[in-house]
C-alpha cells in the first residue's frame, strides 16, 4: 500500500501501540496534522507551548512506563522542546520527539523556521535522526522506539523534512529489529553476581542505594524481595522514590543534600553499598572524596558508563536491575545478622527524624503535604512536583507506596516541569487523582498549560506552595549570602525601596485564583491554617474537576536538613 510520510508516521505509531501524542502544529508538520485530523486511534493533545507538550509526554511516560511521544514543528517549535528533551535525558525517560524540518532542498540555507535540531540535541538525546528519504522513515521510527525503550531508556528525536511527509512509498514495518551497534546487557554476569553475594554476606554494615533504574526496569518487587530476604536497610534516591513503601521498617528515606540524616549517616558509616540503578549524583554524594570511605561498592547498572564515573567501584555488575536482583534473591534464604547495625540505624532514626517546627499562625508547607497524605489515603494518587523547595518538601513528607507514583525532575531540575508532567500523567491515568506540588515561581514557567487542562477537561489538582519567593535560592542566600535576597522576591517591583522591609508587599501577585478563573478553572486560596484541611478536601476530594489551589505558606520556611553543596553528607545543617 502506498502511503505518504505523514501516514507512515501514524501507522508506525499505531504499530508501537501509541494511543496519545502531544503535538503542536506548524508549517513543517502541517501534512502530519492533516493526516491526524481523520485519525481515530490516536488522541492528539495540543499544549499551549511545545515545552509543555514535551513535559506532558514525559509525565505520560513516567507514569506508565510507555514511550511518550511529542510532535513539534521546525525551528522555534523544535528548539522549544530542548528543555523537555534534556529533562527526559537526565532522568532516563523514554521519549520520542518528532520534529518537522524545512524541505530537504532548503536544509542548510538558513531557511524560514530552520534550526539544526539534530545538531542542537546531540548532547541531550540518546540518539537522533534526520530522515531525508521517505523509504527509510518506517525503519527509523522502529529504531527510535526500540532505542528509547531498551537498555537505559532515554529520549530519541526524529527530524523529518516537510516534503518527506508528502512523499509516498510502500509501507512496510519491520516486525523485529537488531542493531549491530546497540545491544544492551540485560543479564548480569553470573561470576560477578556470585562475587556480589559473597561481598554482601561478608558485610557487617551494608546498605542498599536504589535509584531510578529500579523504577525504569520495573524491579520494585524484586527490590522489596531482596530487602525482605536479606534484611539490609535501603535508601532510594529522589528518582527511586516509591520503589520501597514509605512504611517499610528498613526504609531510610532518601539521601543527600536534603535527605534524611539517618540515610546519610548510614551511607557514610556503611562497609558496603549495594547501588542499584543509581548514578552517584553530586546531590547524593556531596563531596565525593569523603563519600562513604569505609564502604566497598557494588554497582549494578545497565549503563556501563554510569559505573565508576563518580565513585570508584569494587564490583561492577552490568545488567538490568530486575534480572540481577532476581538472581541475587536466589542466593539469600535467610536474613543476614545485622542486629548491631540495625540498632545503630534505629537510634539515628529516633534521634534525627524528619521534622519541622509547626505553629498556628502561618501555614507550614510540610503541614500541607501531611494533610494531603491524610486526604488521599486509600486513593489511587499520582504526585508530580515542580523544582525547588516545593519539590523537596513533597519528597520528604509524602507517604509513597508504589513506583511511578512520584514524578519529579531529578537530574536537570527543571522548573516548569511539574505542571505539564501532571497533565501528561492525568491523560495517561484518567481515573487517578493527580496532584501537582508547585511553587509560585515554577508554576509561572508553564502556566499557559492551564488552557490544556481546561480544553481536555482534566481533573488535575495543583497545590501552589506560595511564598512569593524563589524559595530555594532565597534559602541559599539566607544561609550562605548574608540574607542578600537578590532577584528572588517575586513580589518586588520598581516601586519597592532598595532595602526591603517586607511590609508593603503586593498581596496575591499574580492572583492565581483569577488566573485559574480566566482559563475557566476553579481557583481556591488558603490563607489560614484552620482552613487547610477543609479547603483541600473540597478542592481535591469533593470537587471532581480541576483545581488550582493557592496556599499562602510561611514566607521564609527552609528545607531542612541541609548539606551545603560540596560538603560531605554527614556535615548537616539543621535549623528549624
Amino acid at each position: 500500500m502506498l502511503l505518504n510520510g505523514a501516514q507512515i508516521v501514524i501507522e508506525c505509531l499505531k504499530k508501537e501501540s501509541v494511543d496519545t501524542i502531544f503535538g503542536y502544529p506548524g508549517g513543517s508538520v502541517i501534512t502530519l496534522f492533516d493526516a491526524l485530523f481523520s485519525e481515530k486511534d490516536i488522541r492528539v493533545i495540543v499544549p499551549r507551548h511545545e515545552q509543555g507538550g514535551g513535559h506532558e509526554a514525559d509525565g505520560y511516560a513516567r507514569s506508565t512506563g510507555k514511550v511518550g511521544v511529542v510532535v513539534a514543528t521546525s525551528g522555534p517549535g523544535a528548539t522549544n522542546l530542548v528543555t523537555a528533551i534534556a529533562t527526559a535525558y537526565m532522568d532516563s525517560i523514554p521519549l520520542v520527539a518528532i520534529t518537522g524540518q524545512v524541505r530537504t532542498n532548503l536544509i542548510g540555507t538558513d531557511a524560514f523556521q530552520e534550526a539544526d535540531i539534530t545538531g542542537i540535541t546531540y548532547p541531550i538525546t540518546k540518539h537522533n535522526y534526520l530522515v531525508k528519504d521517505v523509504k527509510k522513515l518506517a525503519r527509523t521510527i522502529k529504531e527510535a522506539f526500540y532505542i528509547a525503550s531498551h537498555g537505559r531508556p532515554g529520549p530519541v528525536l526524529i527530524d523529518i523534512p516537510s516534503n518527506v511527509f508528502n512523499e509516498k512509498t510502500e509501507f512496510e514495518y519491520p516486525e523485529t529489529i537488531k542493531l549491530r551497534s546497540y545491544n544492551p546487557t540485560y543479564q548480569g554476569n553470573p561470576k560477578q553476581i556470585e562475587k556480589a553475594v559473597k561481598m554482601i554476606k561478608e558485610s557487617k554494615r551494608p546498605v542498599i542505594l536504589a535509584g531510578g533504574g529500579v523504577i525504569a526496569s520495573g524491579a520494585s518487587d524484586e527490590l522489596r524481595e531482596f530487602v525482605k530476604r536479606t534484611g539490609i536497610p535501603v535508601t532510594t534516591t529522589l528518582m527511586g522514590l516509591g520503589a520501597i513503601r514509605h512504611d517499610d521498617p528498613l526504609y531510610l528515606g532518601w539521601p543527600g543534600m536534603h535527605g534524611t540524616v539517618y540515610a546519610n549517616y548510614t551511607l557514610m558509616e556503611s562497609d558496603l553499598i549495594v547501588c542499584i540503578g543509581a548514578r552517584f549524583d553530586d546531590r547524593v554524594t556531596g563531596k565525593t572524596d569523603e563519600f562513604a570511605k569505609k564502604a566497598r561498592i557494588i554497582h549494578i547498572d545497565i549503563d556501563p558508563s554510569s559505573i565508576g564515573k563518580i565513585i570508584d567501584t569494587d564490583l561492577p555488575v552490568v545488567g538490568d536491575a530486575k534480572n540481577v536482583l532476581a538472581e541475587l534473591n536466589k542466593h539469600f534464604n535467610e536474613k543476614l545478622d545485622l542486629e548491631t547495625w540495625i540498632n545503630q540505624i534505629d537510634s539515628w532514626k529516633k534521634n534525627y527524624p524528619l521534622k519541622y517546627k509547626d505553629d498556628n499562625i502561618t501555614i507550614k508547607p510540610q503541614y500541607v503535604v501531611e494533610v494531603v497524605n491524610e486526604l488521599t489515603k486509600g486513593i489511587n494518587t499520582i504526585f508530580t512536583t515542580e523544582v525547588g523547595q516545593n519539590q523537596m518538601w513533597a519528597a520528604q513528607f509524602l507517604k509513597l507506596e508504589r513506583p511511578r507514583q512520584f514524578l519529579t525532575s531529578g537530574g536537570l531540575g527543571t522548573m516548569g516541569f511539574g505542571f505539564p508532567a501532571g497533565i501528561g500523567a492525568q491523560v495517561a491515568n484518567p481515573d487517578a487523582t493527580v496532584i501537582v506540588f508547585a511553587g509560585d515561581g515554577s508554576l509561572q514557567m508553564n502556566i499557559q498549560e492551564m488552557a490544556t487542562v481546561k480544553n481536555y477537561n482534566l481533573p488535575l489538582k495543583v497545590i501552589i506552595l506560595n511564598n512569593s519567593y524563589l524559595g530555594m535560592v532565597r534559602q541559599w542566600q539566607e544561609l550562605f549570602y548574608d540574607k542578600r535576597y537578590s532577584g528572588v522576591c517575586l513580589s518586588r517591583d520598581i516601586t519597592c525601596p532598595k532595602e526591603c522591609k517586607g511590609k508593603e508587599c503586593k498581596k496575591y501577585w499574580p492572583d492565581f485564583v483569577k488566573v485559574a478563573e480566566a482559563y475557566g478553572l476553579k481557583g481556591y486560596r488558603i490563607t489560614n491554617k484552620k482552613d487547610v484541611e477543609r479547603i483541600l478536601r473540597e478542592a481535591i476530594i469533593e470537587n471532581k474537576e480541576a483545581a488550582i489551589i493557592d496556599v499562602i505558606i510561611s514566607k521564609e520556611e527552609n528545607v531542612m536538613p541541609m548539606v551545603p553543596a560540596g560538603h560531605p553528607i554527614n556535615n548537616i545543617i539543621e535549623r528549624y
Binding site: Y122, P123, S305, G308, K309
Partner: protein
C-alpha cells in the same frame, strides 16, 4: 597519571556520526590530541583513530561513552595491545639555495620525500610515528617552517607472531 592512548572506533558510516563523536569529547571535557576518519573494508563502516590524553579514570569513561553512542560498533584501546601506527605530515619550508642540500639530506635520513619544489619553497612528505615526525619537524624548523599539515595517527593491531 596522564597517559596518551590510541583508540580505534568503528562507527556506522552515516552523516552526523563524526560530529556526535567529536561533540562527545567537547561536552564531556576530554582532551583530544588527534582524530582521523576513513572507510573500512565494509563501506558502511568508518574507522576513527582517536588519540586522547587522560588518567585511567578519564580514559575508562572515554571508552564507555564512545561505546554508549548508538552508532558505535566497536572500541579498541591500543595502549595495552601492540599496534602499528603512523601519521602523515606535510611540511612546507622556506628554501634558500645554500640550504637546499641540507634539507634534502635531513629528509633522506628520516625517509621523507620531497614532493614539491617551487621558486621559494620546498614541501616534504613524511610518514612515520608521531614521535619521529616531531623529531623531524624540530630539525627542519631551523630552515623556517611556513606551514604544516598533519593527518593524525592511524593505527592497526599487530598480529600474534
Amino acid at each position: 597519571m596522564k597517559n596518551v592512548h590510541i583508540i580505534s572506533v568503528w562507527v556506522e558510516n552515516k552523516a552526523g556520526v563524526l560530529s556526535k563523536v567529536s561533540g562527545l569529547f567537547a561536552s564531556r571535557g576530554y582532551n583530544i590530541l588527534s582524530l582521523s576518519v576513513g572507510e573500512t573494508e565494509d563501506p558502511e563502516v568508518s574507522r576513527m583513530t582517536i588519540v586522547v590524553e587522560g588518567d585511567d579514570k578519564i580514559i575508562e569513561q572515554v571508552k564507555k561513552q564512545l561505546n554508549k553512542l548508538i552508532d558505535t560498533i566497536k572500541v579498541i584501546d591500543f595502549t595495552k595491545k601492540s599496534c602499528i601506527n603512523k601519521e602523515l605530515c606535510y611540511v612546507k619550508l622556506n628554501m634558500k639555495t645554500k640550504e637546499k642540500s641540507d634539507i634534502i639530506m635531513t629528509s633522506q635520513i628520516f625517509g621523507a620525500k620531497i614532493v614539491d619544489i617551487g621558486k621559494k619553497t620546498i614541501t616534504i612528505e613524511i610518514v612515520d610515528t608521531d614521535k619521529r615526525v616531531n623529531e623531524f619537524l624540530k630539525l627542519v624548523s631551523d630552515f623556517g617552517i611556513i606551514e604544516i599539515a598533519r593527518s593524525g595517527i592511524v593505527a592497526i593491531a599487530e598480529d600474534e607472531k
